[in-house]
């Protein structure tokens, strides 16, 4: 029931994720932040097994930081995406990470970019991506209303439409969502869409 989706706009990229932490029929908390700020200009929305999610995303974050200290410059979004894919691929036939990731990043040279990385190490560079049951609704909504070079307002409106669709059509819809944005000023939390205050 975890919903993560993202899209690329004009000189920014957006990642939206639900904030529920669930174990079978119990909701542990509804303010779990699943979009990790990988470094100053990268966002990583992750869904899947909670333990694997934490383990893998933290491991990637520390390796990205190590690269920065060793080389004096940060990894590009493309390089980070490929690093993640490589780690997932290596673990796949032994001890797979059950994590799906939407990676968004911004570089001055290449602008915003979005990558779809699933748990069996599929890597695609895309304009819009979604994971989970919510993807049936958010992807359809984005297919209908997305166009390249959207403004932040347009993209947020589209994200809201996707969230509304998930809320009304998914049988056990998550209660709250968080929206994070990355642009030339960096990666940061944009806003929440709540139905409950946790």
């Amino acid at each position: 029931m975890e919903c993560v989706f993202g899209m690329v706009g004009k000189r920014f990229a957006l990642v939206v994720a639900d904030t529920s932490a669930v174990n079978s029929i119990l909701v542990h908390k509804s303010n779990e932040d699943k979009i990790m700020v990988l470094d100053s200009h990268k966002l990583m929305g992750a869904s899947g097994e909670a333990g694997d999610r934490a383990q893998f995303t933290e491991y990637v974050q520390k390796n990205v930081a190590l690269y920065h200290f060793r080389n004096g410059i940060p990894l590009t979004t493309k390089a980070a995406a490929n690093f993640m894919r490589g780690e997932l691929a290596t673990a796949l036939r032994k001890n797979p990470y059950m994590v799906n990731i939407v990676l968004a990043g911004y570089e001055k040279e290449t602008g915003p970019s979005l990558y779809f990385i699933d748990y069996i190490a599929t890597l695609h560079k895309v304009e819009k991506a979604a994971f989970g049951y919510g993807s049936y609704f958010s992807l359809a909504m984005m297919d209908r209303h997305y166009h390249p070079d959207m403004t932040v307002e347009e993209a947020i409106k589209l994200a809201e439409q996707c969230i509304e669709e998930i809320r009304s059509r998914l049988v056990v819809a998550p209660q709250n969502f968080v929206i994070k944005i990355v642009d030339k000023d960096g990666a940061r939390e944009h806003s929440w869409r709540r139905t409950t205050k946790d």
Binding site: E58, Y59, K62, L66, F69, G72
Partner: protein
Amino acid sequence: MARYDRAITVFSPDGHLFQVEYALEAVRKGNAAVGVRGTDTIVLGVEKKSTVKLQDSRSVRKIVSLDDHIALACAGLKADARVLINRARIECQSHRLTVEDPVTVEYITRYIAGLQQKYTQSGGVRPFGLSTLIVGFDPYTGVPSLYQTDPSGTFSAWKANATGRNSNSMREFLEKNYKETSGQETIKLAIRALLEVVESGGKNIEVAVMTKEGLRQLEEAEIDAIVAEIEAEKAAAEAAKKAPASKQT
């Protein structure tokens, strides 16, 4: 004597480990490095040999970041330094990964010193030929620290210290002139200590300042300005000394 310095694992009859002492000699031949701890600022300064004209000086950074809040300067074999720095950087991230907390300055110093000690007690390896000055602010407490390690693997905390070429003269100067300082005063004290043994000028010194916000490398122009200030102060002090004497005649 000669029989006891071949293999590192062998003590001499009078209790020396000659390889470690020879490593300390290598440090004494390395470039001068100084570190000064203030209340809100810690300064690292390193001598830069300006004889290489064709070299791109940006590729030779002598003061490096180990993490956002820790920096290191060293004197001795620079290639050995690369290895230690790499291991320390990995340890900084590894610590963050396992305990979700940044390292304290003491922790990473202990780690580096531990590594240096390991190489004084193994077969077929030689010690790392460098002494390091490690500075930083501890997470949460914000306490500033300056530590020094040496090839034997010992480490200790200092208010101000120097290593490398002419470190004794610099340490003497610091012992005479050290007082609790902050901000610009700390930077000046570090540069004054370095100027005791290094040719004056911004292109002969590399200075980095660690505050709670992070590490900042000073630009050559900034260093030149501070050096000019220091020289002006020195000249004023000289003049003041001469002036009362002339009144007597």
